[in-house]
Point group: C3
Chain length 132, copies 3
Amino acid sequence: MPFVAIVTVVALLQFFWLALQVGFARTRYGVAAPATSGNEIFERHFRVHMNTQELLVMFLPTLWIFAAYVSPLWAAALGVVFVLGRAIYAISYVRDPKSRSLGFGLSIFPVLIMLIGIGVWAIRAILMGAAG
Amino acid sequence: MPFVAIVTVVALLQFFWLALQVGFARTRYGVAAPATSGNEIFERHFRVHMNTQELLVMFLPTLWIFAAYVSPLWAAALGVVFVLGRAIYAISYVRDPKSRSLGFGLSIFPVLIMLIGIGVWAIRAILMGAAG
Amino acid sequence: MPFVAIVTVVALLQFFWLALQVGFARTRYGVAAPATSGNEIFERHFRVHMNTQELLVMFLPTLWIFAAYVSPLWAAALGVVFVLGRAIYAISYVRDPKSRSLGFGLSIFPVLIMLIGIGVWAIRAILMGAAG
């Protein structure tokens, strides 16, 4: 699983980078913790981080289950699309929230593909008599 | 693990469905991103999604560790209770936030049961001399 | 993996405990759902819970991948540092948000160490010709 592991490390470092941007935006736009609103640009950074978290909650389990039971190399390839989608999402959302659709689509697409792949594998495994 | 995999796919598609409801509520109640407040009904959809995320962060690791070391079939059965609990939670919270306790209880209960099961397994494994 | 499993159970019960504190703060400071603002002390409890969730999204996959491919005992030891860091973070944030850096550092440090360890393992595995 080393390729899947590297994609995981990159995706989590990207998530950490987006968290740091929220911290920097706190200082730059004067939004002291615990507040999470009060400045539009800060809120964009904050929402980019939150939305990435929502997708990671779907992406990481999906990536590893797909890698374990379907294909580790396809998992890694789809994971690269996810990370690129997140980068596009972050840049376009901060520039203009209305332009966030492309990046969002590019990161949800590999997750849905892998969920379908896991579903197909699981149903076939059950029909072929797998236990548990 | 095919039954546990199917429960995972269903739980994540349910989570994605709840995210779509937040998006629809943005349009219907006029709450443009990055705002996450300003309309009570929108905020209910938003909080349902957020609370489901909090529980998935507990549920998914617990489900797979319990399946790997205790019982994959019991994991899948408890996972079905979790998904039903989330559905009840989502419907009742949007109708009236004060009625959210039953759905919340039905989804936290299987998580706590599995955490206890993992704890019992782990302590026994250590007492019997397992490494690492 | 029993030591890693116990660290996971403790980290998730700690997360659940922090969620209960948010619920108690709702009652004590009169912030009814779905609102998540309106009282400074409530918002501190809420942000402690949210920040812990952000870190768990990084910590749990990292912990298990590191345990599976690098070292389960080091994973468990670094996991104990994470849980202690979260406890210090929660106590100091509620007392004074400006004092949250030590606890944050103590919980992000083991995650970054494990991410580096996974990266080193994965690159070596690829150079030595591992598939997938």
